[in-house]
C-alpha cells in the first residue's frame, strides 16, 4: 500500500469548494449583468432575483476569503530563495528538463496565486459591498465599478489557469482538494521541504 500524507484539512477543502461554488455563481450572474444576458432569466427568473443571488453569493465568497486567510496567508507571505528560483524557472511548466528547488507545503506558484487571489478577491468584494450598500455616492461608485470590473477580468483569466494547474497539468493534484491526502513519494518530489519537516515533526 502506498503511504499517504495529509496535505489539506477538511476545513480547507470545505472552504475551497464553498469559495469555488460562490465564485462560479458570482461569475455567471456577473457576466449576466455585464453582457445583459437575458437567457439567464431561465435560471434565475428575473434580473431582480439575479441581483439578490449575486449579492448574497458575494457575502459567501467574501466570508470564505477571510476564512482562507487562516489557512494560507502566513505561509504565502513567506517567500524564500528557493521560491524565487522556482518562479524564475517558471515552475518547470515550460521545460521538461527544468530542475526545481525544494518547496514547502505550498509551492511558489501556489503562494503567488493565493496572494493574487487575496488582492483581487478583496478588491472585488469591497467594491461589491460599496456598489450594493452606498449606490448614491457617485465618486465612490465610479471607482468601485471600475475596480470591480478590472478584478473580474483578472479573476476570469486566473481561475481557468488555476483549474488547469490543479487538474490536467499536474496529475495527482486534484485529490488534494477532494480527499486531502497524497502519496508521500509524490509529495516528496513536489514539496520536499514540507515532507521533510513533517517527518522531522513526527
Amino acid at each position: 500500500m502506498t503511504t499517504m500524507i495529509k496535505k489539506t484539512s477538511a476545513f480547507e477543502r470545505a472552504n475551497h469548494w464553498i469559495m469555488a461554488v460562490s465564485f462560479l455563481v458570482l461569475a455567471v450572474t456577473g457576466a449576466g449583468f455585464l453582457y445583459r444576458l437575458e437567457g439567464l432569466n431561465s435560471i434565475f427568473g428575473s434580473f431582480q432575483n439575479m441581483k439578490t443571488v449575486h449579492n448574497y453569493a458575494g457575502i459567501v465568497f467574501s466570508v470564505s476569503l477571510v476564512l482562507s486567510l487562516f489557512s494560507y496567508l502566513g505561509e504565502a507571505l513567506r517567500f524564500d530563495a528557493d521560491d524565487f528560483i522556482w518562479l524564475l524557472t517558471l515552475g518547470g511548466y515550460l521545460s521538461k528538463k527544468a530542475k526545481l528547488p525544494p518547496q514547502g507545503r505550498l509551492n511558489a506558484g501556489q503562494k503567488s496565486f493565493y496572494l493574487f487571489l487575496i488582492i483581487a478577491g478583496t478588491a472585488i468584494s469591497a467594491t461589491g459591498y460599496i456598489i450594493w450598500l452606498v449606490p448614491t455616492l457617485r465618486e465612490w461608485i465610479l471607482i468601485s465599478h471600475l475596480t470591480h470590473n478590472i478584478s473580474f477580468v483578472l479573476l476570469l483569466m486566473a481561475i481557468p489557469i488555476h483549474i488547469y494547474l490543479g487538474t490536467l497539468a499536474n496529475p495527482g493534484t486534484f485529490r488534494i482538494m477532494v480527499y486531502g491526502t497524497v502519496p508521500v513519494e509524490w509529495a516528496r518530489k513536489k514539496h520536499a521541504k514540507w515532507v521533510r519537516s513533517m517527518e522531522a515533526g513526527q
Partner: protein, 252 residues
C-alpha cells in the same frame, strides 16, 4: 419617426412653474410637502415625483439690478446616454421611437448605477428603489400630443417638435449654437442660452465619466478575450508541452 426635441429658452421663462404642475398631473405624480426657503426654486431638487423643475438663478448687474433667470430642467434624453450604457438590466431603460430615454420599473433592479452614468444628476428612485425620471411623455407623443410641460408653458419657454425643425427655428431666431446640439451625440433637450452655460448653472462640456467609457469599450471585450486566452493557453500548454508526469520537472 423623427427624433423629437424640447427647446428650453430661459429668457422667455417667467417662473410660473406650470410645467412642474402639468407634469405631475399627467404623470400622476403625488405632491410632496416642501418648505419655502425664500427662493423661487421649489421644490429644491428633482425627486422621484418631480420629473422637472425650474432652477432659479439671480444675476444682478449694474445695468440690470433685477435679472432673474429660470431654467427648466429634466432628463436630457442624451443620444449617447450614460444611464443606458451602465445599466445592467435589459429593458430597464430603453429608447422610444421619438428618441427619448424611457424606463420600465418592472425591469429595473434598483442598483442605482445609472446615477453614476448620468452626467446631469437626473435619475431618482421611488420607495421601491426603482428608477424615476422624465420620460418625455411617450404616451402623449404616441397620441399626437406634445409633452405636458411643453403644452402648458404659456410663454413658449418650452417648445417641442422635430429636432431638425427646432434647430432650424432657433437658427432663424439668431442662435448660432444651442446647448446640447452636439454634446453626447446630441441631447434630446436643447437650450437657447444667451450667455455661457455656466451662467445658467449648466456644465459646459457634459460627458459620461471616463471610467464608464473605458469599462464599456475596453473592459467588457477584454473580459471575454482574457477568459478565452486563459482557456486557450491552458489547452495549448496541455497539447504542446503536456502535464507534469511523475519525475519530470521534479525537484533537484
Amino acid at each position: 419617426m423623427q427624433r423629437k426635441t424640447l427647446l428650453i429658452s430661459p429668457e422667455l421663462c417667467i417662473g410660473c412653474r406650470g410645467c412642474q404642475t402639468a407634469c405631475k398631473a399627467w404623470n400622476r405624480l403625488p405632491a410632496t410637502k416642501t418648505a419655502n426657503k425664500g427662493s423661487f426654486e421649489n421644490p429644491p431638487d428633482l425627486t422621484p415625483y418631480v420629473y422637472n423643475k425650474i432652477r432659479y438663478v439671480e444675476a444682478p448687474s449694474e445695468a440690470n439690478p433685477v435679472r432673474w433667470l429660470f431654467i427648466s430642467q429634466r432628463c436630457m434624453h442624451c443620444e449617447d446616454a450614460g444611464c443606458m450604457k451602465i445599466c445592467p438590466a435589459p429593458g430597464a431603460l430603453f429608447r422610444t421611437k421619438e428618441g427619448a430615454v424611457a424606463f420600465n420599473k418592472d425591469k429595473c433592479i434598483g442598483c442605482k448605477l445609472c446615477i453614476a452614468g448620468c452626467p446631469f444628476n437626473i435619475p431618482r428612485y421611488d420607495e421601491k428603489d426603482k428608477i424615476s425620471k422624465c420620460h418625455l411623455c411617450p404616451d402623449r407623443i404616441a397620441g399626437g400630443l406634445e409633452p405636458a410641460c411643453a403644452k402648458t408653458c404659456p410663454t413658449g419657454a418650452i417648445a417641442f417638435g422635430d429636432r431638425s425643425a427646432i434647430i432650424a427655428g432657433a437658427r432663424n431666431a439668431g442662435y448660432r449654437k444651442l446647448y446640447g446640439e452636439a454634446d453626447l451625440g446630441g441631447l434630446g433637450v436643447l437650450y437657447a442660452f444667451k450667455e455661457s452655460p455656466e451662467f445658467y448653472g449648466m456644465n459646459e462640456k457634459p460627458a459620461i465619466p471616463e471610467s464608464i467609457v473605458f469599462w464599456h469599450n475596453v473592459l467588457k471585450p477584454l473580459a471575454l478575450i482574457g477568459l478565452g486566452g486563459a482557456v486557450a493557453g491552458s489547452v495549448l500548454h496541455y497539447l504542446a508541452i503536456g502535464p507534469k508526469r511523475d519525475g519530470e520537472g521534479g525537484e533537484k
